[in-house]
């Protein structure tokens, strides 16, 4: 009992420190765009962690929820003149609704789920970018949200979404609900005979994960203010989030955080200036990781201490 509380407090402190850090950094470091993107990927990685880390489903189409969030929020603002914040929240809800429609995919396992989810995200992309829908989605011509542009407010919105994503992961990590998810990931039959409602628990994790990506999409749309369907449905977004989670260590709070900071940092410092080296180093790093540290960087800490936040 006691120990549980201590772990909870450590987690909360960690989250507060990270949030405070990103709140203060813009004052001393002027690459606001980079800071925003790091937060965005931390939130996406933590959101993906909810479904991958705690249930084992690898959502290659995760970007679909991100794109849905971006488009739903934008269209609510542009067409229905909904306020920015409610529009972003509804963007998250829209992503969850798509998640509900896609729940039958959870019956597939392993690679089949990953591929079907990828296909679903591409289908959404083709619907939204269809020129026939120009009157509604602007089709391939993209969205312009400059009327509500606000760099500071949208940065702070990202901060809140990142905080929220962290809190969800902490909840998954410390609650009996999270334990039941890990039991399902291990062996769903044994979990069901322990009295766990397997379908419900999986679905909740899936919808929360989609919700986080939807929120990220909405805030991203607000921050960038101009984007195209291929920007917010780029498969790279899924791949980045997946690689960051795997690199850092799934099913922990700090794993996706570490993965994002290290790999996204590298991507920005050497990837953009010297992409040829970057690809090489990145590729090697990932191969080495899978060979020697299949459970991510956090498994190094686990050798020293059995519990890592």
């Amino acid at each position: 009992m006691r120990k549980k509380n201590i772990r909870l407090i450590i987690g909360i402190i960690l989250i507060l420190v990270m949030t405070a850090l990103f709140a203060l950094l813009p004052k001393i470091y002027n690459n606001n765009f980079l800071l925003f993107n790091i937060m965005l990927y931390i939130a996406l990685a933590e959101g993906l962690n909810l479904i991958y880390g705690f249930t084992g489903y690898l959502p290659f189409g995760y970007v679909g929820f991100f794109g849905i969030g971006a488009y739903s929020a934008s269209l609510l603002i542009l067409l229905l003149h909904v306020g920015v914040v409610p529009a972003i929240l509804l963007g998250g809800v829209a992503a969850s609704i798509v998640g509900i429609i896609l729940t039958p995919l959870l019956r597939l396992s392993g690679a089949y789920f990953a591929i079907a989810n990828l296909a679903a995200s591409q289908a959404i992309y083709y619907i939204i970018s269809n020129p026939h829908l120009e009157n509604i989605t602007q089709g391939p011509y993209g969205i312009m949200l400059s009327s509500v542009y606000d760099a500071t407010a949208s940065y702070n919105a990202m901060l809140i979404v990142m905080f929220f994503a962290f809190m969800l992961v902490l909840f998954f990590r410390q609650s009996r609900f999270g334990l039941s998810l890990m039991a399902i990931r291990e062996d769903s039959i044994t979990a069901s005979v322990a009295g766990v409602n397997v379908v419900l628990a999986r679905t909740i994790a899936w919808l929360l994960s989609a919700f986080v990506a939807g929120l990220c999409g909405g805030v991203f749309a607000w921050y960038t203010s101009v984007f195209y369907p291929e920007t917010v449905f780029s498969l790279n977004i899924s791949i980045f989030a997946i690689v960051f989670v795997l690199f850092g260590g799934a099913a922990t709070l700090i794993g996706p955080l570490i993965g994002t900071v290290i790999l996204y940092g590298m991507y920005n410092f050497i990837g953009i200036s010297t992409p040829q080296y970057f690809q090489l180093i990145y590729g090697l790093l990932i191969v080495m990781l899978i060979m020697f540290l299949p459970n991510g960087v956090v498994s190094l800490f686990k050798k020293v201490k059995d519990y890592v936040p």
Binding site: E186, G195, V196
Partner: protein
């Protein structure tokens, strides 16, 4: 009214019918053994009772309530606990395994039951934080049984608990089950091939090719020719 009553049950996998009309019942505090050769359908019957397989025909009642099509976790909440041949989560700790055994109880009750289990199984207490996968085969069975009893079940369903254990450990498991059943007063339905369990039970069924071929109390079973041939015949 029987605690568990299975009537003309037909079930199996997808379109493959394995059980061809099974009738079986378990009374309050009774110990019932299910015998049968490999592939007879013992595991299939237990899974069907737990709601893990589609029921093609027939009925299952628990305390008079029709549970034929009830979801697995709801059956568990009614008081049926099941240990499959695996039974535990190897990548979770001993403590987490126990916690999951009583997933639907509130945390205070869970805590109480956990203390009780650690009292019954002292060996588990010293491995509280260890991953269940790092336990020995015998310890895993102990953990499986402790996890099973966490929820204070009315009926305990066990699938070959002796599987892979040395004769010494089989004896130990039987003693533990015997002792715990006296203390906690649950009923037991146990599928076994190990003849050592015969004396543990009060009544039994022999199934073959998905049908009950012999049933009765212990002395009936022991004197039955089919049982003699199948079990005592190969004993030595």
């Amino acid at each position: 009214m029987s605690l568990l009553e299975v009537q003309s049950l037909e079930s199996g996998y997808k379109i493959l019918k394995v059980l061809w009309g099974i009738d079986l019942n378990v009374e309050q505090k009774e110990r019932v053994i299910l015998l049968g050769v490999n592939g007879a359908g013992k595991t299939t019957l237990l899974k069907a009772i737990m709601g893990l397989l589609k029921i093609f025909n027939g009925k299952i009642y628990f305390e008079g309530k029709d549970i034929t099509h009830l979801r697995t976790d709801k059956r568990v909440k009614l008081g049926i606990a099941y240990m499959s041949e695996i039974g535990i989560f190897p990548n979770l700790t001993v403590d987490e395994n126990l916690e999951l055994g009583a997933f639907f109880l509130d945390s205070k009750l869970t805590h109480q039951r956990k203390q009780q289990m650690y009292e019954y199984f002292q060996d588990l207490l010293s491995h509280k934080k260890a991953l269940a996968g790092s336990l020995s085969g015998g310890q895993r069975k102990m953990l499986g049984i402790a996890k099973l009893l966490m929820s204070n079940p009315k009926l305990v369903v066990l699938d070959e608990p002796s599987n892979g254990l040395s004769p010494k450990f089989v004896k130990l498991i039987i003693n533990i089950l015997d002792d715990l059943q006296n203390k906690e007063q649950f009923s037991i339905l146990i599928a076994e091939q190990n003849i050592a369990f015969l004396d543990f039970a009060q009544r039994g069924y022999v199934i073959d090719n998905g049908k009950v071929v012999v049933s009765g109390n212990l002395s009936d079973l022991k004197s039955n020719n089919i049982v003699k041939k199948a079990y005592f015949g190969i004993e030595n």
